[in-house]
C-alpha cells in the first residue's frame, strides 16, 4: 500500500470516528488521535469543517439536475396536445419552466404557454396564490407588457398562458455586441413605459433582465414575466439558511436564483430584504447599462461573486461609450445607487429623460411641487429627470434655466475619491464650493494623500483638474466667480479659473475655511488658538477680526452674508474629534468694535443661501428662513435633505450660488472605523461613534463603560478615553503627551492598566505599563518599565509592552512584550503582589500575543504564529501542560465568554468565530462556527464581547458600506420650497 493511501486511511478513520462523536468531544479526540502530527490533524479538520455544508450537498434529485443540464433539445411537448392547447415549437426554457408556442383551440388564438415545474404544480397553496397573482397580472393591459391570460390546469400539467411574443430577446441581441445608444434608448424607453404602467397597478417585476425583454421585428418592446418571480416564490422561501455558512445570502436560497438573475438584482433584493418598485428601477439601470456597453453592470464568476459585485462594487462607468448623452449617464448612475432611498424612486424619471433623448412622445408635464411635507421625497423621484433636462437646456442654448428644481450628481473623477488632507480630523466630508454665478462646482478629490482641486462646469459632465493645487483644501470662490481661494501647504492661495499658477496670499497653518466678500475682503482661519483674520484679496498682512471668547478653542468656517460686512462663523469649544459637542454659530463683523451675536447651536457650520440658513443637525441638512438684513431667523428650521456630510471639525459639505444652485454631499459612508455593537448574527445593534483605526475597545466589568485609545489634537497623541455606554458620553482618562493604548480594566472596575508607548520619535522614553485609577482621586502608578533582556534590548522606541488582560482574582496582569532584535513578541505575566517580578508565559521563537485569562484564571487563550499564520491556542496558566490549538482557519484576538464555555476570535478572513470549549482538567474545543464577517480596515481590529457572549463591540467599518456617495447638485433648489 502506498504511503498516500495509507495516509488517507488514517485521515478517514480519524475523521469518521470524529463524526461519530458529539461536536464538543471532537477536539479532545483529535488531540488524542493526532498527537503532535499537526498536519494530520489539519487534514482531518479541513474535512470536518464541511460537515454543516455537506448535509444539503449532492442531495438534490438527479432528475432535477438532468432537467437543468439536458434542457431543451431533448424530446418535448411539441406536436402534442395538452388540454386545449396544440403545442408548437419550444420558444425557450428557464428556471421557471419551458415556454412553447401553442394554439388555444378553445379561443382559437396563438399563445405562449409556460409549463410550470412539477414541484410548483404539486403545491396547492402556491398554485392558489399564483392564481390570485395571475388575475392581477391579467389586469395589466399595456402594449409593452406581454399579457398574462391566466393559469390553466390541463391534463395534469399546470400551464401559464401568455401573449405570444415573437422576436429576439435582449440577451440574444446583446450577445452580438453593445447596442448603439440611438437604438438602445428607444428600447429602454419602452421598458420604462412597461414598468411605469405595472408600477401604477402596484405590480413589481422583480426579475427584469435582458432575457425577459423581447424586441419584435417592428421595434415594439415586450416585457415578459411581470410579477412571476414573486408569484412563483415558495411561501417559505427563507428561513433556515442562517445556519448554513456556505449560503452567502438568503436570496440564494430562493427559487430560481441563478446567475442570470443575480446580475440584475438590486442590493436590497440580494440581501433578501423586502423590495419595492425601486428594485425594478435598479434592474432597469442594469439592463440599460448592459445594452449600451455589451457588458453586465455587475458580473462575476459565480452567484456569490455577482452578488458581491451588486452589493459592493460600482459598475465600470468608463465602459459607457463616449457618445452616450450626459443625461442618460446621470440617469444610469441614479438608477444604480445601492441605497434604495438614494435611488431614482420612480421609473417616471427614466421615462422623462428617455422621452427627450429618444425624441419620442413628449413626457408627462411636470407636476407642481407637492406639499413641503413630501417635497423631498418627490425631489428624489423627479429630481434626476429635471436635473438632466435643465442641464441640457443650459448646455444647449441661451435663456434662463427652467425654474423647476433640477438635480444631478457629481461622482469623483476616475481613480479619485472626495476628501482632502486628512490631518486634524477633516474626516471624509467632501469639500466643495459652488461658484456665485452657479456655473461651476469646485471640489477636492484625489487618491490617497494627493488631493487637488477639480472644476466641474454645471453644464458639462467632465471635471477639470486645476494644476498647481496639490494638497489643497476647503476652496471658496471670489464673488465674481473668477478666482478660487483655497488652503494648501500651510498657505492661503488663490487661482484664476481662467488659468495660471496659484498665488499665495498669506500664511494659514490652520486653514479651516475662508470667505471672500463682495468688497474683496477675505476672512479666514489662520492659526489654531486664535480667532479669524482678514486680508485683502490681493494679499497683505492679516489682521484679526474675531477673538476667542472664554472656553473657545478656535473660530472656523467664516461665511460672508450678502452685505459683505457680516459673516457667520463657528466657535469650537473643546477637542473636536473624539467627542463633538454642538458647535455655536455666531455672526461676526469686519467692522471693529461691533459686538458678536450668537445665532444657533448646530452640529456643523452654517451657510446662507437664497433667504435660508443651511446647517446640519444630526447629519440632516436643515434649512431655516433667514433675513440677512436683520441677521435673524424668520421661521422654523426644517429638514431639507435626509443626510449631509459633516466633518469632525464641523465642516459642512454644502454650498450654494446666488442664483439658486445648491451642491451638497450626502453623508458618505464613513471610511473611518467606528465602534459598533453586533449580535451573534452580525446584525448591527448600535454604534458608539467614531474611533481610531486600531483602538481597542475594552468593556468595563459591569459592561457600562468602554475604555479605548483615541488620537486627539494635531498631529495628535493617543490618550485613553472612557465612554459611558448608556449616555454615550466620552471623558478623558489620560491627558499627557505620551501615547497610551490598550486599556484593560481591573476586575473590580476601579482601575485601568494601560500601555504607554515609546515609539513616538519625539519622545525617547521606554515603554511603560501604567495603572490609572478610574475615579481620578488617586495618582497613576507605573507598574513596569520595559527593561533590556540579555537577548533583547528594549530601549526607547525599541519595544512595546501591551497589557491584554487582568486575572479575575486581580493578582496578575498579562501583557505582550514585543519589538526588539530579532523582532518577536511574547506573553508575560506581571504579578501585582510580592516582588512583582514579571515572568514569561509564552515566549518561544514564534510570536505570541494577546493573552487572555479564562474566567476561572486557570487557562489562557492567546495567539501564536507558529504555523506561519496567527492561530488561537489555549494553554494552562502557571500549571504544566501543553497548548491546544483552537482555531482552524487562522485566529486573532481571542475572548472568553463569561462562563468560560466559549471562545470568540476573528479568523483569517476577519470573520467573527465562536468555538465551544470545555476546560476541566484538559481542554476540549468544538469546531469553529463562523458567526459573521467583520468589515475592517485592517485584520488587526479589536473587539470586546459581553459576558453572556451575545453582543460584540467591534472597532469596524460601518456595515454595508456602499462606497462614497456622489455630490448632489440641485439647480433652482428654492423652488422646491415654495409651498
Amino acid at each position: 500500500m502506498s504511503d498516500r493511501a495509507d495516509r488517507w486511511r488514517r485521515v478517514e478513520q480519524i475523521c469518521q470516528d470524529a463524526l461519530d462523536r458529539p461536536v464538543a468531544e471532537r477536539a479532545a479526540f483529535l488531540e488524542a488521535s493526532c498527537g503532535e502530527d499537526l498536519l494530520l490533524r489539519r487534514e482531518v479538520e479541513v474535512l470536518l469543517v464541511e460537515e454543516t455544508a455537506s448535509s444539503a450537498f449532492l442531495e438534490s434529485p438527479t432528475g432535477a439536475v438532468a432537467a437543468a443540464v439536458m434542457g431543451p433539445g431533448s424530446a418535448r411537448l411539441s406536436g402534442h396536445r395538452v388540454g386545449v392547447f396544440d403545442v408548437g415549437a419550444l420558444l425557450g426554457a428557464g428556471g421557471m419552466g419551458e415556454v412553447y408556442r401553442a394554439r388555444d383551440t378553445r379561443l382559437d388564438r396563438d399563445v405562449a404557454i409556460k409549463i410550470l415545474p412539477e414541484a410548483f404544480a404539486h403545491d396547492a397553496e402556491r398554485v392558489a396564490r399564483f392564481q390570485r397573482e395571475a388575475k392581477t397580472l391579467a389586469s395589466l393591459n399595456h402594449s409593452n407588457i406581454a399579457a398574462v391570460y391566466g393559469l390553466e390546469e390541463s391534463a395534469g400539467v399546470t400551464v401559464l398562458v401568455m401573449e405570444l411574443v415573437e422576436g429576439e430577446d435582449l440577451s440574444q441581441r446583446i450577445a452580438r455586441g453593445p447596442i448603439p445608444h440611438d437604438e438602445a434608448l428607444p428600447i429602454a424607453k419602452q421598458m420604462a413605459e412597461a414598468l411605469s404602467a405595472a408600477h401604477e397597478h402596484g405590480i413589481i417585476h422583480r426579475d427584469l433582465k435582458p432575457a425577459n425583454i423581447n424586441v419584435r421585428r417592428d421595434g415594439v418592446v415586450k416585457v415578459l414575466d411581470f410579477g412571476l418571480a414573486k408569484a412563483m416564490e415558495p411561501a417559505l422561501a427563507s428561513g433556515g439558511h442562517s445556519n448554513n455558512p456556505t449560503i452567502t445570502t438568503p436570496a440564494m436560497t430562493q427559487a430560481g436564483m441563478i446567475l442570470g438573475t443575480a446580475a440584475y438584482m438590486a442590493p436590497e433584493q440580494a440581501r433578501g430584504r423586502p423590495v419595492d418598485k425601486r428594485a425594478d428601477v435598479w434592474a432597469f439601470g442594469a439592463v440599460l447599462f448592459e445594452m449600451l456597453t455589451g457588458r453586465r453592470a455587475f458580473d462575476g464568476e459565480d452567484v456569490a461573486d455577482v452578488l458581491g459585485a451588486v452589493m459592493r462594487l460600482e459598475p465600470d462607468w468608463g465602459k459607457l461609450p463616449l457618445d452616450v448623452p450626459t443625461p442618460v449617464r446621470t440617469l444610469l448612475q441614479r438608477c444604480l445607487v445601492k441605497e434604495p432611498r438614494e435611488r431614482v424612486s420612480d421609473i417616471a424619471a427614466a421615462l422623462f429623460v428617455l422621452g427627450h433623448q429618444a425624441g419620442a412622445t413628449a413626457p408627462a408635464t411636470v407636476q407642481a411641487p407637492p406639499s413641503r411635507r413630501t417635497w423631498w421625497v418627490a425631489a428624489l423621484a423627479i429630481g434626476a429627470v429635471l436635473a438632466m433636462a435643465a442641464v441640457a437646456f443650459r448646455g444647449s442654448g441661451p435663456g434662463r434655466p427652467a425654474l423647476e428644481p433640477v438635480e444631478f450628481t457629481i461622482a469623483p473623477p476616475a481613480g479619485t475619491s472626495f476628501g482632502g488632507p486628512a490631518a486634524g480630523g477633516t474626516g471624509s466630508a467632501p469639500q466643495l464650493a459652488v461658484s456665485p454665478d452657479g456655473r461651476y462646482v469646485v471640489f477636492v478629490a484625489g487618491a490617497r494623500s494627493a488631493f487637488q482641486l477639480w472644476l466641474r462646469p454645471v453644464a458639462s459632465a467632465d471635471a477639470k483638474l486645476l494644476p498647481g493645487t496639490e494638497g489643497s483644501a476647503f476652496p471658496f470662490w471670489s464673488p465674481d466667480s473668477t478666482d478660487i481661494a483655497f488652503f494648501a501647504g500651510g498657505k492661503l492661495k488663490k487661482i484664476a479659473v481662467a488659468g495660471g499658477p496659484p498665488v499665495t496670499l498669506a500664511d494659514a497653518r490652520a486653514g479651516r475655511g475662508g470667505s471672500w466678500s463682495r468688497d474683496n475682503v477675505i476672512v479666514f482661519d489662520q492659526v489654531t488658538g486664535a480667532g479669524l483674520f482678514r486680508i485683502p484679496s490681493t494679499g497683505g498682512v492679516p489682521t484679526a477680526v474675531t477673538t476667542l471668547a472664554e472656553g473657545e478653542d478656535a473660530h472656523r468656517w467664516p461665511h460672508f452674508l450678502p452685505d459683505g460686512q457680516h459673516f457667520f462663523y463657528t466657535a469650537v469649544t473643546g477637542p473636536c474629534c473624539p467627542a463633538p459637542r454642538p458647535g455655536v454659530v455666531k455672526i461676526g463683523s469686519i467692522n471693529p468694535g461691533e459686538p458678536v451675536a450668537t445665532l444657533l447651536q448646530a452640529d456643523s457650520s452654517a451657510v446662507y443661501a437664497s433667504g435660508y440658513l443651511l446647517f446640519a443637525r444630526e447629519q440632516t441638512l436643515m434649512a431655516q428662513p433667514f433675513d440677512p438684513g436683520a441677521r435673524a431667523t424668520t421661521g422654523d428650521a426644517f429638514p431639507l435633505r435626509e443626510r449631509v456630510s459633516t466633518g469632525g471639525n464641523r465642516y459642512i459639505s454644502v454650498s450654494a450660488s446666488q442664483d439658486g444652485t445648491l451642491a451638497y454631499a450626502p453623508n458618505a459612508a464613513p471610511t473611518e472605523q467606528s465602534l459598533f455593537w453586533f449580535d451573534r448574527s452580525g446584525r448591527t445593534l448600535g454604534t458608539l461613534g467614531e474611533s481610531g483605526p486600531n483602538a481597542t475597545p475594552s468593556l468595563s466589568p459591569d459592561e457600562g463603560r468602554v475604555a479605548l485609545a483615541l488620537r486627539t489634537g494635531n498631529p495628535g497623541n493617543l490618550d485613553i478615553w472612557l465612554i459611558d455606554i448608556a449616555r454615550n458620553l466620552r471623558s478623558r482618562l489620560t491627558s499627557d503627551a505620551r501615547d497610551e493604548g490598550s486599556p484593560v480594566w481591573s476586575p473590580d472596575g476601579t482601575r485601568i492598566v494601560l500601555g504607554s508607548g515609546a515609539f513616538q520619535e519625539a519622545r525617547p522614553e521606554r515603554a511603560l505599563l501604567i495603572q490609572a485609577p478610574v475615579n481620578e482621586t488617586a495618582a497613576s502608578e507605573t507598574l513596569l518599565e520595559a527593561a533590556d533582556t540579555p537577548t533583547r534590548p528594549c530601549g526607547p522606541r525599541q519595544c512595546l509592552v501591551t497589557p491584554t488582560d487582568w486575572s479575575s482574582d486581580g493578582r496578575f496582569v498579562l501583557y505582550t512584550f514585543s519589538g526588539g532584535f530579532p523582532a518577536t513578541s511574547d506573553i508575560w505575566a506581571l504579578p501585582l503582589f510580592g516582588d512583582r517580578q514579571p515572568f514569561p508565559v509564552a515566549d518561544t521563537r514564534f510570536g505570541e500575543s494577546l493573552g487572555t485569562f479564562s474566567p476561572d484564571g486557570r487557562w489562557i487563550a492567546y495567539v501564536s504564529d507558529e504555523t506561519g499564520l496567527p492561530n488561537v491556542y489555549v494553554q494552562p496558566f502557571m500549571r504544566a501542560g501543553g497548548k491546544h490549538r483552537i482555531s482552524v482557519n487562522g485566529g486573532r484576538n481571542p475572548h472568553w465568554s463569561g462562563n468560560g464555555k466559549e471562545l470568540f476570535y476573528l479568523d483569517a478572513d476577519g470573520a467573527m468565530t465562536a468555538v465551544s470549549i470545555t476546560t476541566a482538567d484538559t481542554v476540549a474545543a468544538g469546531l469553529p462556527e463562523t458567526l459573521f464577517p467583520v468589515a475592517t480596515l485592517s485584520l488587526n481590529q479589536m473587539f470586546s464581547v459581553t459576558r453572556d457572549g451575545q453582543r460584540f463591540l467591534i472597532n469596524a467599518r460601518p456595515p454595508n458600506t456602499a462606497g462614497v456617495s456622489p455630490v448632489t447638485v440641485i439647480v433652482n433648489w428654492t423652488s422646491t420650497l415654495e409651498n
Binding site: 438532468a66 432537467a67 437543468a68 439536458m70 424530446a75 448554513n244 464568476e301 459565480d302
Partner: protein, 191 residues
C-alpha cells in the same frame, strides 16, 4: 417502444458480468440513448404526474432495457451502477456541449441551477464536481463510485451497497466522507 432488444442488453450485461470489458463499451451507447430519451420525456412531462425521482429515472431505463427476470440480481445491481456512470457522462457531456465551461475557460460558469433550487447546496458547477470526483477516485475509488451511484444514478443506499457488494453502513460512511472531501476540494478550486 423500446429502442433495442432486451435480449441484446441482457446478453451484454451477462458478458460484462463475466469479465468481458468490450461488452461494456457496447452497452454504454445503448444505455445513453435510452437515458437521453427518458430524460427528454421527463422534461416534457410526457407522463403527467410522474415525479422527478432519480431512482425512477434509472430504474425506468433499466426496465425498458432489460427483461428483469432474465437478469440475476447481482447483474441488476451492476447494471444500475453502469447506468449511474452513463448518467454522469451524459450530464457532463451535456453541460460541456452547452458551453457550461469550467471557470476561466472563457464562457461563464453556470451552477447547477437545480441543485441550488432544490437542495440549497453550494452552487457547485457540474463540471467542477465531475473533475473533483475524478480526483476522489484517485484517492479512494469506492467512494467515488458511491457518489456516482447515489448522485448521478439516483440509487438508494441499499442499491449502492448491493452494486458494490459492501454493507449499507459502509456506503453510508463512504457517502458522508466523500461529500466532505468533495466540498473541501471544490472550495479550493480557483475562482
Amino acid at each position: 417502444m423500446p429502442t433495442m432488444a432486451s435480449a441484446q442488453v441482457t446478453e451484454l450485461l451477462h458478458a460484462w458480468g463475466a469479465g468481458d470489458d468490450a461488452a461494456l463499451h457496447q452497452l454504454v451507447p445503448l444505455v445513453e440513448a435510452e437515458l437521453r430519451r427518458l430524460a427528454g420525456a421527463y422534461m416534457a412531462r410526457e407522463r403527467p404526474g410522474h415525479t422527478l425521482q432519480p431512482t425512477a429515472l434509472v430504474n425506468e431505463a433499466f426496465l425498458r432495457l432489460v427483461n428483469a427476470q432474465g437478469v440475476p440480481w447481482q447483474g441488476r445491481a451492476h447494471f444500475v451502477g453502469i447506468a449511474a456512470r452513463v448518467m454522469r457522462r451524459v450530464l457532463v457531456d451535456h453541460a460541456r456541449a452547452r458551453g457550461y465551461q469550467k471557470r476561466g475557460g472563457g464562457a461563464q460558469a453556470v451552477p447547477i441551477e437545480a441543485a441550488i433550487l432544490v437542495s440549497r447546496a453550494p452552487d457547485v458547477a457540474l463540471l467542477d464536481l465531475d473533475h473533483a470526483l475524478d480526483g476522489l477516485a484517485k484517492v479512494d475509488e469506492r467512494k467515488a463510485k458511491v457518489v456516482e451511484m447515489r448522485f448521478f444514478g439516483g440509487m438508494t443506499v441499499e442499491e449502492t451497497a448491493d452494486a458494490l457488494g459492501v454493507s449499507i453502513d459502509t456506503v453510508k460512511r463512504d457517502w458522508r466522507l466523500a461529500k466532505l472531501w468533495l466540498l473541501s476540494t471544490l472550495k479550493d478550486l480557483p475562482r
